[in-house]
């Protein structure tokens, strides 16, 4: 199968243009980074507001018995920020799901699939173009949210910490390396499911289930069962990289022109 970058870029151009004009989808996409920045900022603010609250010590000692009363608020801030990265990954995972479900299953719903498949573009070029149009916004939004997140957390925590908390090495590694891997995972799952189901909503709902393991992971961190850190997230990243490679292979194999045309056009 040949690959002509110009045709893949044409698909990207069209999908990106369509996304820019899709206010509903842009609105849904905007909610996620807002929550991702606002919630941890409020958490940090709550710890900073009354760092001597005795209940903070109780909470901190649940996770680490050696924590001193004076360090409880700082410990909880550090732990929250480390744990929050797990939830932050939902953003690069979920944004491509929103975009790809709408773009692949949407082609079927709008009856635009047949003219597209009748063009010279190969299946691989279509998948690459659509993936770029979903991955690029996800990564850009994640980067932008991360910058806002650092600023807002640092501003709120300054009173207690007297210095910048973020960005730290773990977060930079996570946002630059692990977040794109999660974006790739979300996109792959969404394209694969969209190619097999009839409508974009169902594709979104089914693809969204991929975020459940992350919720379980963060829940375990909060419960103290798992202890998050740079090494922990590196392992998670390696597992997701492996899944990405498997998905890439499956997507190219299953994004079959004949199957798509005979089932959905």
């Amino acid at each position: 199968m040949s690959f002509r970058p110009r045709r893949a870029l044409a698909v990207f151009w069209k999908d990106f243009l369509d996304l820019r004009k899709n206010r509903g989808l842009l609105g849904s996409m905007a909610v996620i980074p807002c929550v991702m920045v606002l919630v941890p900022t409020l958490m940090v603010w709550a710890y900073v507001r009354n760092p001597d609250d005795p209940s903070l010590r109780v909470m901190a000692r649940y996770y680490e018995v050696s924590v001193q009363s004076a360090d409880a608020a700082r410990f909880l801030i550090d732990k929250s920020l480390t744990d929050w990265f797990g939830l932050f990954l939902i953003m690069p995972l979920f944004i491509p799901i929103l975009i790809s479900s709408s773009s692949v299953a949407g082609e079927k719903e709008r009856r635009t699939l047949e003219p597209l498949l009748a063009s010279p573009a190969t299946s691989l070029e279509i998948v690459v173009g659509k993936s770029l149009a979903a991955l690029l916004p996800a990564v850009l939004v994640s980067f932008a949210a991360f910058v806002l997140f650092c600023i807002s957390v640092d501003v709120v925590a300054w009173k207690l910490v007297r210095g910048p908390l973020l960005p730290n090495g773990m977060w930079i590694f996570g946002v630059v390396v692990i977040a794109p891997l999660f974006a790739f995972l979300g996109n792959g799952v969404a394209i694969l499911i969209s190619a097999r189901v009839g409508d974009s909503r169902l594709a979104q709902q089914l693809s969204g289930l991929v975020s459940l393991p992350i919720l379980g992971m963060v829940g375990s961190q909060v419960a103290g069962v798992l202890r998050a850190g740079a090494g922990y997230y590196a392992i998670v990243g390696a597992v997701v990289l492996l899944l990405d490679l498997l998905l890439l292979r499956a997507t190219i194999r299953l994004f079959d022109r004949e199957r798509l045309i005979s089932r959905w056009s």
């Binding site: 040949s2 002509r4 110009r6 045709r7 870029l9 044409a10 698909v11 151009w13 069209k14 243009l17 369509d18 004009k21 899709n22 709008r110 009856r111 635009t112 699939l113 047949e114 003219p115 597209l116 498949l117 009748a118 063009s119 010279p120 573009a121 190969t122 022109r257 004949e258 045309i261 005979s262 056009s265």
Partner: protein, 302 residues
């Protein structure tokens, strides 16, 4: 330009045979009608011709390229107007066309100049910067036709091209199809509008899972030797005399004229003799072409 050559083409989906044993040729410059009821396998045939589906049996050579192995080279040479316009509603008319210009890796300025010519011809010039979602059904159909032609294809397949168009626009489309054929492009027209098929097509294939008829439109209309006879007085009183003939021709009275369907030209003198023997004063007898619709319905109902 080498037209279309179809040999023993067939497609099976699971255990269901959608179409089988199709063989026909379409020459460059010809407008060829592909007729058949819903579910007859027209769309499957078109999809095999455009390389979207791989045939289970046989092969089709379109513009010199095998549909079985042609892939992108084949799709570059074929323009397909699908039954639904299939436009991106949020994109403007211009953006919809530019997308397909880019997909075909064309020189954007030259292709857009050609597109502008079509936009003007179809009365869409000045509207190209509006989102297609706000357009009427007819405008959308016209833009889909322009999209089909924007890469200057050798072979053009139209599925219901005038669907949703007002008479004036439908005429513009028909003129455009005739002009494309005059440029030696190969045209396949799938339509339920038989009057349109009669006007545009030189030959037609009637399919219903298999090939029912393949003929020039005129020959198809002449099939069955219909005879129109003007007799003095009430024509209906001669129907029993015709029914008594050994070959019992189908006869009816239409507008005071007797219309008799014969299976063989040799039956013509027998009919006239029977009428004269029954006392009819025959003013004239004319061999007529039957409406394509009548022939078509007879074929697909058989």
């Amino acid at each position: 330009m080498s037209g279309i050559r179809v040999e023993g083409l067939g497609k099976r989906f699971g255990t269901r045979v959608a179409v089988e044993g199709l063989s026909f040729e379409v020459a460059p410059g010809e407008v060829f009608g592909l007729l058949g009821p819903n579910g007859a396998g027209k769309t499957t045939t078109v999809r095999m011709l455009t390389g979207l589906l791989t045939p289970t049996w046989g092969d089709a050579t379109v513009a010199g390229i095998s549909s079985r192995h042609g892939g992108e080279d084949l799709r570059r040479k074929v323009g397909l107007l699908t039954e639904q316009p299939g436009l991106y509603d949020r994109l403007t008319g211009k953006e919809n066309l530019l997308f397909f210009i880019k997909l075909n890796e064309l020189d954007e300025d030259a292709a857009w100049a050609r597109a502008l010519g079509y936009l003007e011809r179809f009365g869409l010039k000045g509207r190209e910067d509006e989102p297609c979602g706000s357009w009427s059904k007819g405008m959308r159909q016209k833009l889909a036709i322009i999209r089909t032609l924007v890469h200057d294809p050798e072979v053009v397949i139209f599925d219901e091209p005038t669907s949703g168009l007002d008479p004036d626009s439908a005429r513009t489309v028909r003129d455009c199809i005739a002009e494309l054929a005059s440029e030696k492009r190969t045209i396949v027209l799938c339509s339920h509008n038989l009057a349109e098929v009669e006007r545009l097509c030189q030959r037609v294939a009637v399919v219903k899972g298999r090939l029912l008829a393949l003929s020039a439109v005129r020959d198809l209309r002449r099939a069955g030797h219909a005879l129109q006879i003007k007799v003095a007085g009430d024509a209906a009183r001669f129907l029993p005399a015709l029914a008594a003939l050994p070959f019992s021709p189908k006869a009816l009275v239409e507008g005071g004229l007797l219309r008799v369907l014969l299976s063989d030209e040799e039956q013509q003198p027998e009919v006239l003799r029977a009428l004269i023997d029954a006392g009819a004063r025959v003013y004239h007898a004319t061999r007529i072409e039957r409406p394509l619709e009548e022939v078509y319905l007879e074929l697909v109902r058989a």
